[in-house]
């Protein structure tokens, strides 16, 4: 689920931080720049793990900013294919179920990847709100994918959408592209024994 990525970058330290220990100032600047951001093809950065190497600082004559070359390792969230994670159901539509892990919301399980025989239909028990339901053949029981329920899902694939802005001419040519797609999206599956709502599998 989490792994370490080694990144090299130039970090600029503002003169107001010159009274701090240089290590602390670097920590703060790296976290400001990277934490809670998605790097294309890498994943969602969580926090700085450690600094591997740092150069001497070079001060810019005009701005007073101190430029430091740093190599550091970030904790990055990017579950590998087939990894099982726990998540919470946020909402559901005819297409499928949206999940969240709290710090990352762009997880989607399409309806075809739910347990066999799952249907999306309004339910009299939940004020007519439509939910995905699995009918069990054996004893006429029903299993519901309720909102806010904890589930286990397995990672099927991932989608990356670069959000680098396009030029105005290009953007006008294709208005469909202007819709903001999430930079990183996980497609999951819950169609296997052990997956699905956690409560179903508790002994």
């Amino acid at each position: 689920m989490f792994f370490l990525s080694k990144i090299a970058d130039v970090i600029q330290i503002h003169p107001e931080k010159f009274n701090m220990r240089s290590e602390d100032a670097l920590h703060e600047n790296i976290n400001t720049k990277y934490a809670n951001k998605v790097i294309q093809g890498l994943g969602l950065c969580i926090s700085l793990w450690d600094i591997c190497w740092a150069s001497e600082g070079l001060c810019d004559v005009y701005t007073g900013l101190c430029n430091v070359n740093v190599e550091f390792r970030m904790v990055v969230f990017r579950p590998f294919e087939g990894e099982v994670l726990q998540a919470r159901i946020v909402s559901q539509t005819e297409e499928g179920i949206h999940l969240t892990v709290g710090f990352f919301d762009d997880i989607f399980v399409p309806g075809s990847e739910l347990a066999d025989g799952a249907q999306f239909r309004p339910d009299p028990d939940s004020n007519g709100k439509a939910t995905w339901v699995v009918d069990l053949e054996e004893d006429d029981e029903k299993l519901y994918y309720d909102n806010h329920e904890m589930v286990h899902f397995s990672v099927l694939s991932e989608e990356w959408h670069d959000q680098t802005p396009t030029g105005p001419v290009e953007a006008e040519a294709d208005p469909a592209d202007q819709q903001l797609l999430p930079p990183y999206k996980i497609i999951g599956t819950m169609n296997a024994p052990g997956l699905g709502v956690c409560l179903w599998w508790q002994e």
Partner: protein
């Protein structure tokens, strides 16, 4: 920015948890607030890791995970020669499967690869090294208290 190594190392959830807890303590001591985006993501990740049925939900009280957990687990599983992959071991650390249903999601082709006795032995070792789910934990604590 240049990416030198996309996957330098895999991290079990426990190590991330420990890093974030240590950072929070250090920040309180330094009395200097962390950058907003960093603070938000860290608290959200911690909340997620502490949510039941995550095995780290009661880490504060039970302390079932420690820095040697991974090593102990690998050492204890070696005599069984199960042939588990690195990713499978990592997921066992992260999810702490307590039943063969959940174990089968973590270990590919569980039925073919491991006999039922081996599955039971594996679950036993997982429970021994990484602890059990909440109710059993409470019972264990009670039984210790009664014993004393």
């Amino acid at each position: 920015m240049k990416i030198l190594d996309t996957q330098d190392a895999l991290l079990p959830n426990y190590e991330v948890y420990q890093l974030l807890v240590d950072q929070q303590v250090a920040q309180k001591r330094a009395q200097r607030p962390a950058p907003g985006n960093h603070q938000i993501i860290c608290s959200q990740v911690l909340t997620y890791l502490r949510e039941t049925p995550s095995p780290l939900a009661n880490q504060e009280q039970t302390k079932t995970y420690n820095n040697n957990s991974a090593q102990t687990l690998v050492d204890k599983l070696r005599p069984l020669s199960l042939g588990l992959e690195k990713g499978e071991l990592l997921q066992i650390m992260n999810l702490r499967p307590s039943s063969s249903a959940l174990l089968s999601t973590v270990v590919e082709q569980l039925e073919d690869r491991l006999s039922e006795e081996k599955q039971a032995a594996l679950l036993e070792i997982i429970a021994e090294v990484l602890g059990r789910d909440e109710p059993t934990d409470k019972e264990a604590i009670e039984s210790i208290e009664n014993g004393n």
